[in-house]
Amino acid sequence: MTTAGTRPASRHKGLPFSIRLEPRLDQPKWLGPAVSAGAVLFAFGLGAIVLLLVGGNPLRAYGYMIRASFGSLGVLSDTITKATPLILVGLACAVAFRMKLWNIGAEGQFFAGAFAASAVVLTPLLPAETSPWLMIPAMALAGILGGAVWGFVPGLLKARLNVNEVISTLMMNYIAVAWNNFFIFAVWTEGGFQMSHMFPRTAWLPKLADFADRLPELRGLTTHLGLVFGLVAAVIVWWVLYRSKWGFEIRLIGDNPRAARYAGLNIVRNTVLVMMLSGGLAGLAGMSEIAGVVHRLQGAISPGYGFTGIIIAWLAKLNPLVVVPVSVLFGALILAGREIQPSGISKTIQGIVLVSLIASDLLMRYRIRIVRRGAEA
């Protein structure tokens, strides 16, 4: 099947037909979404087989997952809460991948952002009585800065010394987790537990449930202001990538670095800046999760959001606006997957989704023809 052109791809003697791959000259508009949707469905099918293998009931498990993530207003709100950091890390990955910068470090940048945002409250840079109008922007800024610093290091190493960013960003993930652990174990520990004390109310992002006294329907809804961060960021990143001069440079470097160099674009500066933007978005995700959901710094703040962001960016075909709905899908998967046994099933399905997605890319580039033997010649 490696052969391009109209060469027969399989030469099995016994078959009355052969499979041919013909390059597509143009792709109809519906093809991309259709292939992606097909790949996701195919992935859930494979996930069902894995579930069967470990003795589960896939239909019941999937039915439960749909109910546990979209079944009522309350769980839908929880799903969106889970999707909130995913939107931001998905954007972080999308913007870096658009320049073919493989930032695999969104997870570490998420932790760095969470750490920096917590530092504002815990150091304390701002006293607990600070107005939320100052506290929350300060935390958001700190989160963005923390993530950006964590993206800056691999970005600079890549730009100046051509250090492979896949490995360096990954290594930065482990360093960020150890760094966080030091602070929750040794510095900000509360009574020997591996977590900081609860943030003051002024450092909490407002959530829908806070307005329940005026609108009783909102009672118990966990969706918080971070969602607005995510939506605004999606629009901004979309505008930057597709409507600004900088975005044009990013896309040109990603598509054809040689042409970009001849055109006189500053690849070193763009590499560092894009890594910082990517890190900043992931850092904001960390801040939003800390200030909107957890309300304290602790070890278990991410079930691998940074890695899920990679899959989201890819499924969204790096389009910032598509990242939003795709994040909701994965938010549901993570939320409902927590209660499915065995516990690795949601990670497995995520892995299968990514595998099917990149495999399905073949269908975008080639048309598969089944040709009768006799008709060949």
């Binding site: 391009a4 190493l157 010394l161 492979n164 482990y174 497995t348 892995g351 595998v355």
Partner: protein, 322 residues
């Protein structure tokens, strides 16, 4: 804090990285970048532990690990070679898949009891050599000795044999290799498979010898990624890979041991009196990997050495490019 003990344990722990690194070198020399090492190692570690537990025979565990790693690698091989997809994303996907599957099939294994481990023994005469004997040839697991053999064999294979020449050809200039009648796709498939088997073996080395047991994702804790970093540091040369792997193994061991004694080099050991400083020690292997990458890429520029020319590019007959 006996340096001999640290180096001895470091060699054992470095054997894990050695297998994974050599496997990745073979794979990358054929022109396929496989970032799925972490996933293949983890599934190897899980298979080895669960099969050894079920059968009571660690050797069956090793075989299971090799097969599991090899099988998983073929997912990447099909996507990268047949489907000509982006190898970075495909490798990442392979890691996610491997981690997920290991967690699913390894459910409950962490609470399982002890398992029969691979035998460890000393080499009669060689273990008497001062310094080197105790480090390399005393009371080591059998896989450590396999590791010693694998380095020169793989070096000789790549650089001095005809199949090794073919391997280098399909990684440097597949179009020329194709013109000579070498089946590029089939050979690449084979070397991705070999890389997967060695990554699986690396996993088995962890779960059945170096740190026995199943600790879900913490079993490998990023060693697959360190191995990929070491390939770049080693400039795709098995001898340099051996040096790097054992050095990293010793570093891992040193980090564990440095927190033990109350006195360190005649002064109060801060890591003993404040164990939380250990988190900074834990960062060291990862920070060192970045340092090693910097050294590797600088060295590559200086000596005009570098990655196989066709690394990461799918070969499509009749298309321009390499």
């Amino acid at each position: 804090m006996d340096p001999i003990v640290i180096l001895q344990a470091g060699v054992a722990s470095g054997t894990v990285l050695l297998f994974a690194t050599i496997g990745e070198i073979l794979c990358e020399r054929s022109g396929v970048l496989n970032l799925g090492v972490e996933g293949m190692m983890l599934i190897g570690a899980m298979s080895a532990f669960s099969i050894a537990l079920a059968t009571g025979n660690p050797w069956l565990g090793v075989i299971a690990a090799i097969l599991a790693g090899g099988l998983l690698s073929q997912v990447h091989a099909v996507i990268a070679i047949q489907f000509q997809a982006d190898q970075v994303v495909s490798g990442l996907a392979l890691t996610f898949l491997g981690v997920g599957l290991s967690l699913v099939f390894g459910e409950g294994l962490s609470k399982a009891g002890a398992v029969a481990l691979l035998p460890a023994f000393s080499i009669p005469v060689l273990s008497l050599i001062p310094v080197l004997g105790p480090i390399f040839f005393t009371n080591q697991c059998v896989l450590v000795y396999v590791g010693y053999f694998s380095v020169p064999i793989v070096w000789y294979f790549i650089n001095r044999t005809r199949p090794g020449l073919h391997l280098r050809a399909i990684g440097e200039f597949p179009a020329a290799a194709d013109a000579l009648g070498i089946n590029v796709a089939r050979l690449r498939h084979f070397y991705v498979f070999v890389g997967g088997m060695l990554a699986g073996l690396a996993g088995a080395t962890i779960s059945l010898a170096v740190s026995p047991g199943w600790f879900s994702e913490m079993t490998t804790s990023g060693q697959g990624w360190i191995a990929i970093g070491l390939v770049i540091f080693a400039q795709w040369d098995p001898l340099r890979a051996a040096f790097g792997s054992y050095a990293f193994g010793a570093l891992r061991r040193l980090i564990l041991d440095i927190q033990g004694p109350a006195q360190l080099l005649g002064v109060r050991n801060p890591f003993f009196y404040n164990p939380y400083w250990g988190f900074f020690l834990q960062m060291l292997p990862y920070a060192f990997t970045i340092v090693v990458l910097v050294l590797g890429s600088r060295g590559a520029v200086g000596k005009r050495l570098g990655a196989p020319a066709a690394l990461g590019t799918p070969y499509v007959r009749g298309q321009r490019g390499i």
